[in-house]
């Protein structure tokens, strides 16, 4: 019985150490990855049932094809590929005496390193999306990072002459992150880096400041552009706010430019997706909507940031270096020395 087990282990190792197995696994990964590009990923279950019909939709959900690249079976496949490449590399280690063979080894080992980095990221990367108003601060400890204070001093948008966005910029202040302070301007493609923590520019929008003057007490409110807040739960009544930075009566609710040259706020009472009352008000003015009264006090940008710590990415980059070194060392002779296959 023991002999049989040992024989099976030997067979398994010899199967995994065969480069043909790794190639077969690579082809399978390629075909399955292609499948994932044709099935929309990360949609709600209802989407698949309505788009593909009950049977195919259920099949997609049952096989986790709706989140294919994150499914357990896809990750097992990647793990098997990684294992097969590792065994192949180990078996070829003693033969790697020539540059060509060492380069080939480096190349294949690099793929294992990259996949290991990806697995590390999958398990240990932490990513949080936050929206901060200019002048506000947040404590990163509340989001699972090292205790420190992140503040947005200013957010600006640069425009081309035709008002297409050129760049989004956030002036950030990160205080007390692992004993260091950072003051940086970030923009798309230029994140703030503090150790393994990175802060990326992701999105932006308008925050609208209102005062609820419906009762005797004046209550300040903050609402994001296009968002709605619940006013009366029993009646299902919502207040929706739409900001028009550059109002032009001829253009209606379309803003003339994205710049706040003539700001107006549309306030609407909404019930069952139907507008009950609506008003368009400039800054400092009040809107009377049925029994509710709101004053439009002001507006400011908010900056959408992604805060991320991903230790795995450095392992991935190490893999990239090995990959390129291996590739160049393996093939450079083809182009610089004649008659070499």
């Amino acid at each position: 019985m023991k002999k049989l087990d040992r024989q099976r282990r030997v067979d398994l190792v010899s199967l995994l150490s065969n480069m043909k197995t790794a190639i077969d696994l690579l082809i399978i990964v390629g075909v399955i990855s292609a499948l994932g590009t044709f099935i929309p990923q990360g949609q709600t279950p209802d989407f698949y049932l309505s788009q593909y019909g009950t049977w195919i939709g259920k099949g997609i959900l049952l096989g986790s094809l709706n989140s294919l690249y994150q499914s357990w079976w896809y990750q097992i496949l990647i793990g098997l590929l990684c294992l097969s490449l590792s065994v192949c590399c180990y078996r070829r280690l003693r033969h790697a005496r020539s540059i060509k063979k060492a380069a080939s080894l480096s190349f294949h080992l690099a793929i294992v390193i990259i996949l290991a980095g990806a697995a590390w990221s999958l398990g240990y990367a932490r990513s949080v999306a936050v929206e901060i108003n200019a002048g506000d601060k947040i404590n990163l400890a509340n989001y699972g990072f090292s205790p420190s204070e992140l503040g947005l001093k200013q957010f600006t948008i640069d425009y081309y002459p035709d008002y297409q966005p050129r760049q989004y910029r956030s002036q950030l202040q990160l205080q007390g992150y692992q004993g260091h302070d950072y003051t940086r301007e970030i923009s798309v493609n230029h994140p703030l880096q503090a150790g393994i923590l990175k802060i990326y520019q992701r999105s932006w929008g308008w925050t609208l400041k209102l005062s609820d003057q419906s009762g005797e007490k004046v209550t300040p409110l903050r609402i994001k552009d296009h968002d709605a807040i619940l006013l009366d739960k029993a009646q299902g009544l919502y207040l929706q706010a739409i900001f028009i930075p550059d109002y032009d009566p001829l253009a209606g609710i379309e803003s003339k430019t994205p710049l706040p040259n003539n700001p107006r706020l549309i306030l609407a009472l909404v019930k069952d997706d139907q507008v009950q009352n609506m008003a368009i008000v400039p800054v400092g003015n009040k809107a009377q909507l049925a029994r509710y009264c709101f004053r439009f006090d002001g507006y400011s940008y908010y900056s959408g940031l992604e805060i991320k710590s991903d230790p795995g990415v450095y392992l991935v980059y190490t893999g990239f270096v090995f990959l390129l070194i291996g590739l160049i060392a393996r093939y450079w002779q083809l182009f610089f020395i004649r008659k070499v296959d």
Binding site: M19, A34, G36, T37, R166, H190, K198, F320, I328
Partner: protein, 260 residues
């Protein structure tokens, strides 16, 4: 002016295709030299076209699908001019000119509007990423055209086939090396711009699939189990995957590369 130059290139290629068709029947030195002249004229017109584009846009022409396809076409043209000097095959010339003609026809259907660079594209990685992609895809395109020549040749012309096979191999190695650069620079850039070095975006997934296809070719060839025609078919399939990655994904599978 840009449109006129594009029409001129199209006409030059059309004449070249006809010339190469005639050469299939009667391959004289005069016709061969005329083909080379047409190739150089096309190249000069192409340089003119790209210069006008750069002056009008005030930036390198790396920003959208139209510009990428033009550069891709231009690079195949350069490789074909280099290969034409030593490879005296009218069939190869015909395959290349036909491919260039098709690519140019596709380019003319894509919007040529001069758009300013959106924030995500404002990075030095853009130039490295696109330039390496053009070299990789251009090398695969030339390997594909040589593959057509290989498959059309009689299996008896062993020495000639070996030479073509060796050229295909070198082109695939060049393309594969640069495709690896494309994927790596894309990953580093994506990490800088979006915070994820890999997002399974359709374009990056199909780039990986292209990489896998050519990796299979390199292994098949080096393991000596597959030889000749079988490996050439992988090169042909590989280029079809390249075309799908370039055009099919952009049209059928929207994602983060929506501008490309």
């Amino acid at each position: 002016m840009e449109k006129h130059l594009l029409t001129l290139i199209f006409l030059l290629l059309l004449v070249d295709v006809i010339n190469n068709l005639v050469r299939l029947w009667k391959n004289t030195k005069l016709l061969r030299n005329f083909g080379s002249l047409l190739g150089w004229l096309t190249f000069i017109s192409f340089l003119g076209l790209m210069s006008f584009r750069i002056i009008a846009a005030h930036r390198a022409p790396f920003a959208n699908m139209y510009e990428f396809t033009l550069l891709f076409t231009g690079f195949i043209l350069i490789i074909s001019i280099i290969l034409r000097r030593t490879l005296l095959s009218p069939l190869f010339d015909l395959a290349v000119t036909l491919l260039l003609l098709v690519l140019l026809a596709v380019t003319s259907t894509i919007s040529a509007d001069l758009q300013p660079l959106m924030p995500a594209l404002q990075s030095n990685w853009l130039h490295i990423h696109v330039a390496t992609a053009i070299i990789a895809y251009g090398a695969f395109a030339a390997a594909f055209c040589l593959g057509i020549v290989y498959l059309a040749k009689s299996p008896d012309s062993t020495h000639e086939l070996q030479q073509i096979d060796q050229r295909i191999y070198r082109l695939v190695v060049l393309g594969f090396t640069f495709l690896t650069f494309v994927i790596i620079t894309g990953a580093i850039w994506a990490e800088q711009a979006w915070g994820n070095w890999w997002s399974w975006d359709p374009k990056e997934t199909w780039s990986l699939i292209t990489w896998i296809v050519y990796a299979v070719y390199l292994h098949a060839r080096s393991s000596r189990q597959w030889k000749g025609r079988k490996t050439i078919w992988i090169v042909v399939i590989g280029f079809l995957v390249v075309l799908f990655t370039l055009f099919g994904v952009s049209i059928l599978l929207p994602g983060l590369h929506s501008y490309a």
